[in-house]
């Protein structure tokens, strides 16, 4: 069952007023929550629980509002979007909102009883709930005014922040009505606005956080300061499965300036000190003997990514069907023009610019406070409770704005520093902030899995007639949420879930366990599989003597939405021109096209490249993105820029290589990411087809890589089936 199915079960659940008088100490605020997360675990449907008191929305006497966002802000603009949506229905200008992250627990599990920030899910799942929340609050304010004035609520209208009785000209500010509204029942089905009347939804309102982030005032987990805290740095074992046997110069280390103590952890040695730099210097000086220990996913000492790629390429085993139509095998058998190809994509690191950290403080009453970045607070609290030997109710999680995430801050066992921070705080009896150096982040990141797929396809004069694909490997959703092969979208999406009409298709997964601790990386399976599929599609076009753009159009004859999108990207690029052609600056360039259907949205991309000194240069990228409906076009445009940057980066230069069980890169010197002078110009067309709202954060990424690679093939004749491009010579 997909996340969307779970969400659909939430519909119809209404907000409740949890603001009994006396709550919030007589602040006079209107406080709304919802009963959503109270859905009991199956088999535990006992008496209804009291509503949680954490509020989504507090409307204060001064007319401002505090909104608690279920979703964390990490640069994607979600706090602003949430304020826009609630403000629209409440009829209160978004600039009057302050938004903070909703604490763990409470009524914030709006994704069908849970919540996380990821999967490009926030706006589309928050949208109906936040509209309802705003509409309910507005209706209560209107009713409060109606009772005070002795008129019928139907005679009242609102202007931003004000209830107005047009007949008498009476007006009352929301802040003055909040206290009276507090005791009213929450309407079960408040009337929602006609989208034609939207004032703020659909507008390019400015992001709330840009000034703080332009002046150094925004703080992150790494900046947290807790009274009396010590700082910690650590060194992990070079591979998972090793554990420290001894620090042979421990006495010397503990005598270094500022050092409090050396602490042996599971698979790591930490130094706790007065200052982080003192801890860092000391751990760098530590001489550690490692010995074989225990690990859930021990890394083999002879593991290499190159060897693993070859293992996947030759892997045999059960092919679990993911999608099938017609008779792919039979058609391939009988076809005249059949081609085969194996595609692969490397491990890639998240490379979020803020290194991971966690601060832990045990309180006198035995409870635990934690400060850290996370994309799934309730899950982190659960894991922290297990690590600390406490109940979840004894843990307070202070979620911090994320210094980039891209999937880095999900729960990944050995990739999260907070269990170590908890252990250190317990060991030293003081609060501890643990910061992983960039080198430790590269060593223990949960990278996107190395992926591989084997393609066979047949093409006729009108386009592809059959496609058979075996995707080999393991997806993060199987690793972390036990999705079985064939039912793990993260293992095949981008090869499965395509829109093109190919009459005879068989997509299957051959499960092969990945020795690394793998994770979600922006656009997840799509980030590599669309590269493979769309590259092979161009190979089929070439084999059939067909133009790749026209061939795609004809394969989309059944979908007006997709044809429109592809035509749109062609238009904004000035008309489909594959080249090669000479550009104004004298360089020879070519263009490639690709499409993707990620996270409920649709994308079509054209990229323009040249080759300079044996290296590919990406000049321009055109993106047509259809997320169905848009809340903030400027945020969407920014997310497209960001997705193009990451998509270009992984296509050109990114590859986490393992040799002898260890990543060879431990920092950005050996693991380059896109530089400013490698950034293409980005031209974006947002198409609002009116389809159900899709995601925005990730969908711009998957088609970028194949558009680049297809352009490179047109320009150079070299068909690249293994990323990144930097490992190939185009001289």
């Amino acid at each position: 069952m997909g996340v969307l199915d779970q969400i659909s079960r939430r519909l119809g659940q209404a907000p409740v007023n949890v603001s009994r008088r006396g709550f919030l100490a007589g602040s006079g605020a209107l406080v709304l929550a919802t009963a959503l997360p109270l859905r009991p675990v199956r088999g535990q449907e006992t008496a209804a629980e009291a509503p949680a008191v954490e509020a989504f929305l507090e409307l204060r006497p001064d007319g401002t509002a505090l909104l608690r966002s279920p979703f964390i802000e990490g640069g994607q603009g979600i706090f602003t979007a949430m304020a826009q949506i609630v403000g629209e229905e409440l009829d209160l200008a978004p600039e009057n909102f302050s938004v903070e992250i909703a604490p763990a627990g409470g009524p914030f599990g709006i994704m069908g009883g849970y919540r996380l920030t990821g999967g490009s899910m926030s706006t589309r799942t928050g949208y109906p709930v936040m509209r309802q929340l705003g509409a309910a609050a507005r209706a209560m304010l209107v009713e409060a005014a109606a009772q005070e004035w002795g008129v019928d609520a139907s005679e009242l209208v609102t202007e931003p922040g004000v209830v107005v009785h047009e007949g008498s000209g009476r007006r009352a500010a929301y802040g003055d009505l909040a206290a009276a509204a507090m005791d009213l029942p929450v309407p079960a089905e408040p009337a929602l606005k006609d989208p034609a009347d939207f004032r703020w939804i659909g507008s390019a309102l400015p992001r709330m956080d840009v000034r703080a982030k332009s002046t150094g005032r925004q703080t992150y987990a790494i900046d947290v300061e807790v009274e009396g805290m010590l700082l910690a740095a650590l060194r992990h074992a070079p591979r998972l499965g090793l554990t420290p046997a001894a620090v042979t110069n421990r006495t010397e280390i503990e005598a270094m300036r500022g050092v409090h103590s050396v602490q042996m952890l599971d698979g790591a040695v930490a130094v706790v000190a007065e200052k982080f730099w003192q801890a860092r210097r000391a751990i760098d000086a530590a001489e550690i003997d490692w010995t074989e220990g225990e690990a859930q996913w021990p890394m083999p000492a002879d593991f290499s990514s190159a060897g693993f790629r070859d293992t996947l390429a030759s892997a045999t085993g059960e092919v679990v069907e993911v999608e099938a139509a017609g008779d792919a095998a039979g058609t391939l058998e009988a076809a005249e023009t059949v081609i085969e190809a194996t595609y692969d994509a490397p491990y890639v690191a998240h490379g979020q610019l803020e290194p991971p950290s966690a601060t832990a403080r045990f309180n006198e009453d035995g409870t635990l406070d934690l400060w850290m970045p996370c994309q799934a607070p309730e899950m982190f609290v659960g894991a922290a409770a297990a690590a600390a030997g406490l109940e979840a109710s004894q843990i307070t999680l202070h979620q911090q704005v994320l210094g980039g995430f891209f999937g880095r801050h999900f729960l990944y066992a050995t990739a999260n520093p907070f269990p170590q921070a908890i252990a250190l705080a317990k060991a030293v009896g003081r609060p501890v902030k643990l910061i992983w150096t960039r080198e430790e982040d590269f060593l223990r990141d949960a990278p996107r899995p190395l992926g591989l797929a084997r393609f066979r396809g047949a093409v006729g004069p009108d386009g592809p007639t059959a496609l058979q694909v075996e995707v080999v490997g393991e997806g993060p959703t199987q690793r972390w949420y036990q999705a079985p092969p064939g039912q793990d979208p993260s293992a095949t999406e981008g090869i499965s879930g395509k829109t093109y009409a190919i009459a005879n298709t068989h997509i299957g997964q051959i499960f092969h366990a990945n020795p690394a601790v793998i994770g979600y990386w922006r656009a997840v399976g799509h980030s590599m599989h669309d590269f493979m599929y769309e590259g092979f599609l161009d190979e089929l076009a070439q084999a059939g003597g067909l133009d790749p753009f026209e061939m795609r159009l004809s394969m989309l004859s059944g979908s007006e939405r997709h044809r429109t999108l592809l035509e749109r990207v062609g238009e904004i690029s000035g008309g489909w021109t594959p080249g090669p052609f000479e550009a104004e600056d004298g360089t020879t360039r070519a263009r490639g096209v690709a499409m993707a259907s990620p996270f409920g949205s649709e994308a079509a991309v054209i990229a323009e490249v040249s080759v300079d000194g044996g290296e590919v240069r990406v000049h321009q990228v055109w993106v047509a993105l259809d997320p169905g409906q848009v809340v903030n076009p400027s945020t969407v445009e920014a997310q497209v820029q960001s997705a193009v940057a990451l998509g270009t980066s992984q296509t050109l230069v990114e590859e986490l290589v393992y040799e002898n069980g260890e990543p060879t890169a431990r920092n950005f010197d050996m693991y380059p990411i896109l530089r400013p002078d490698q950034m293409p110009q980005v031209h974006t067309a947002i198409v609002e087809s009116g389809a159900p709202m899709g995601g925005v954060g990730e969908p711009g990424l998957p088609a970028v890589g194949p558009a680049i690679v297809n352009a490179v093939a047109t320009l150079t004749g070299q068909r690249i089936r293994s990323l990144p491009l930097s490992k190939h010579d185009f001289g």
Partner: protein, 148 residues
């Protein structure tokens, strides 16, 4: 040792080769300057030293004693810095924001030195990494200052 940071002299008691980054963050408590890589690759730790954008994570504190060190916290003390910040706000450059202290200071240093930089000047000066990929907005914001 004595360090001149943001117009004030600070007596700091640290090992002489402590990176300036950690003196700023841990001794002065100014957290706008960020740790990103520690090896002068990303530029999140950029400060201005005698007006020059400098990566503080590899700058030993004792090497800058007597020089004028300026961090993001006082960037708006100069006209150029104010205009750069306003351009960053106006263009909504930041996404996660973690690299932007360094980006703003790198731009301020460039524009203080060369008010109307060429593309090559910008390529040479604006080398800080941004994982969110705000590079086009950074350039647009910088250009909006130099062309104003």
């Amino acid at each position: 040792m004595q360090l001149n940071i943001n117009g004030a002299t600070h007596d700091v008691d640290v090992a002489p080769d402590t990176p300036l980054l950690w003196v700023i963050r841990e001794e002065l408590g100014l957290t706008g300057t960020k740790y990103g890589c520690g090896i002068a690759q990303c530029g999140a730790c950029t400060v201005m030293i005698d007006g020059v954008a400098t990566r503080s994570c590899v700058t030993p504190a004792d090497s800058v004693s007597g020089l004028e060190i300026k961090t993001i916290e006082t960037v708006e003390d100069t006209e150029v810095g104010r205009r750069v910040v306003e351009a960053w706000v106006e263009n909504e450059v930041a996404q996660c924001g973690y690299c932007q202290s360094g980006q703003v200071l790198a731009a301020t240093a460039l524009l203080s030195d060369i008010p109307t930089p060429t593309d090559a000047d910008i390529d040479g000066a604006m080398t800080n990494l941004c994982r969110c990929g705000t590079y086009n907005k950074i350039r647009a914001a910088l250009r909006s200052v130099s062309e104003a």
